[in-house]
């Protein structure tokens, strides 16, 4: 199929709307041609993942500065994913000064282009909520998965740079999950015996991890998931399945908007693959994420960023107890949540326990070399997946409750309770 460009697309390509927009259109056209797109479409908004210095390095900074210096301005509302440092407290978290300066330069370039600095990997809990069926261009694998699956908006699994190119032109290739037929479920996971127990968020992260490993590039459909699954639990499922696998869209029967029934999820067709999963398969997946260690130095939660409610839950689990000496307990979140937590006094209570909130970034994105950590514990499937390579730490995976109990004593007691 040949790509047909609109007159607006051609104006961008001919540089009539500035040099940066021309470069952006060139990238989008290359992408569209590679994937056999028939056209580019308008997007309502964008979310940028390419703004994290730690991930894209000097090359990402050079690209951002080139676009900013070339007069690039976003043409649709565009939010920013995490940066590579806690903007307010990077010194406290022992971020090297030279690294902080590079991160600041990256932040400046994206702000110059008119992006909204929410600095979070969970834009959908910080005011960027696309409506059902809306075409958007999001990058950040967990956010893509959440937007497509839970909100029913439409985005491809964009990588760094495709995001800003779409934002600078307001256009994107008509590919992948933008098309209704590509949103059809293909792989059916039938969950058995999960009941309606009050499962932890980590339990759903383990489910995400399991389906991500098995799905390949098919669209998974989950049947038998308790319908009381929360927004935060769907967030954990989105993040884990987009880490262990390439899931950019999943359907949960009776929960997600395009999957009120199996027929809806499969668009009236049959699944290509069917797999039965039991409660013990999920627990086995969780155990597989855990190294056999007992002494923990760091407990890190908030991947994706904790919501206000998750911070409240953490405080409840702490029950006015203090984090053990020598243990760091870090809650990764964003400045908007911090603002609210300070208003209600929850921020102060968290501080009193010895736990610390870090905003704008997460532990996978700045060097931890100045801390003497060996083993971390987390309730996040995504942290558990990436931390060994990104931080060099051994990982113990467990529920938030187990994370808190471990932080109080400094010892993990081999509890796999989810």
């Amino acid at each position: 199929m040949d790509l047909k460009l609109s007159s607006v697309d051609k104006d961008f390509l001919e540089g009539k709307k500035g040099e940066s927009a021309r470069i952006a259109m060139e990238v989008l056209i290359d992408l569209a041609e590679a994937y056999g797109a028939s056209k580019l479409i308008d997007i309502k908004q964008a979310h940028i993942d390419g703004c994290t210095f730690a991930a894209t390095g000097q090359a990402g900074l050079e690209f951002a500065e080139k676009l900013a210096e070339g007069g690039g301005k976003v043409r649709v509302p565009t939010t920013l994913n995490i940066t590579a440092r806690d903007i307010q407290r990077w010194k406290y978290f022992k971020v090297p000064e030279s690294f902080s300066a590079k991160s600041a330069a990256m932040e400046k370039a994206y702000l110059e282009m008119g992006c909204i600095p929410i600095w979070t990997c969970a834009p959908y809990q910080q005011g960027n909520i696309p409506r059902f069926g809306e075409h958007i261009a999001w990058a950040e694998s967990n956010a893509i998965n959440f937007a497509n699956s839970v909100l029913g908006a439409r985005t491809a699994r964009y990588g760094d740079f495709a995001d800003i190119c779409a934002a600078l032109t307001g256009r994107t290739p008509y590919i992948e999950y933008h098309l209704t037929e590509n949103r059809r479920g293909q792989y059916l996971f039938r969950f058995h015996g999960l009941g309606n127990k009050n499962h932890s968020t980590a339990f759903y992260a383990a489910i995400g991890y399991l389906i991500g490993k098995m799905t390949g590039n098919m669209v998974p459909v989950l049947e038998g998931i308790p319908t009381d699954i929360t927004f935060d639990q769907l967030k954990a499922l989105s993040a884990a399945s987009a880490s262990s696998g390439a899931v950019g869209l999943f359907h949960v029967i009776g929960v997600t908007p395009e999957a009120q029934t199996l027929e809806m999820a499969f668009q009236g067709k049959e699944p290509l693959t069917v797999n039965d999963v039991s409660y013990s398969d999920v627990v086995k997946t969780a155990k597989g994420l855990t190294e056999n260690r007992t002494n923990v130095d760091l407990v890190a939660v908030g991947c994706p960023h904790f919501s206000y409610q998750e911070v409240v839950m953490t405080l409840k689990l702490l029950k006015s107890r203090k984090i053990a000496k020598g243990i760091q307990f870090w809650i990764n979140t964003n400045q908007s949540t911090e603002f609210l937590l300070r208003k209600t006094g929850i921020w102060d209570e968290i501080q009193k326990s010895g736990a610390r909130l870090t905003t704008d970034t997460c532990i996978l994105n700045w060097p931890l070399d100045n801390w003497d950590f060996k083993t971390m514990m987390t309730n996040s499937g995504k942290f558990a997946h990436y931390a060994p390579a990104q931080t060099g730490l051994d990982v113990i995976f467990g529920s938030l409750k187990t994370c808190v109990e471990t932080a109080i004593t400094g010892l993990w007691r081999g509890n796999y309770e989810l």
Binding site: V27, A34, I144, G159, A242, A389
Partner: protein, 143 residues
């Protein structure tokens, strides 16, 4: 001598030649590749510890983070990118890194997509030549 050739669809254009580094496991460059050395760092991955610099990196598909585009671009800047990539399914996340490398540095990493059957025929350390104009991969040296 007649060389074996494999027909391919190119997701990033260009010509390249190199020794095949093959895995049947998917790969995520963020947390999987150190762009400053070209070494695969994903814990437990079959290619862990291998250097991809100048190799034809053969893996079925990408997975995971959106940042893989950024890591591939940084690997190009650091001269530690693979010579080319061969997939069965090419994710936009992987393709974008190569496309932007061409726009920013005038260098790209050709990406070819081939059938599962042809994918299975590629041997570790065989020497491959990729050509987007002829839309094919030639096996120059079979192992």
């Amino acid at each position: 001598m007649n060389y074996k050739s494999i027909s391919a669809k190119f997701f990033a254009r260009g010509q390249a030649e190199g020794r095949a580094l093959v895995t049947d496991q998917s790969l995520c460059f963020w947390g999987g590749l150190d762009p400053k050395t070209g070494i695969i760092i994903e814990t437990g991955h079959p290619l862990e510890g291998e250097n991809i610099t100048g190799k034809v990196l053969v893996f079925p598909r990408g997975h995971g983070s959106s940042s893989s585009s950024g890591v591939l671009l940084e690997a190009v800047r650091c001269n530690h990118a693979p010579a080319a990539i061969i997939n069965i399914f090419c994710e936009p996340i992987i393709a974008t890194g190569s496309i932007v490398a061409k726009a920013l540095y005038g260098k790209s990493v050709p990406i070819a997509v081939i059938s599962e059957e042809d994918f299975k025929s590629i041997r570790q350390d065989s020497v491959l030549r990729l050509d987007d104009e002829e839309k094919k991969i030639t096996v120059l040296k079979k192992i």
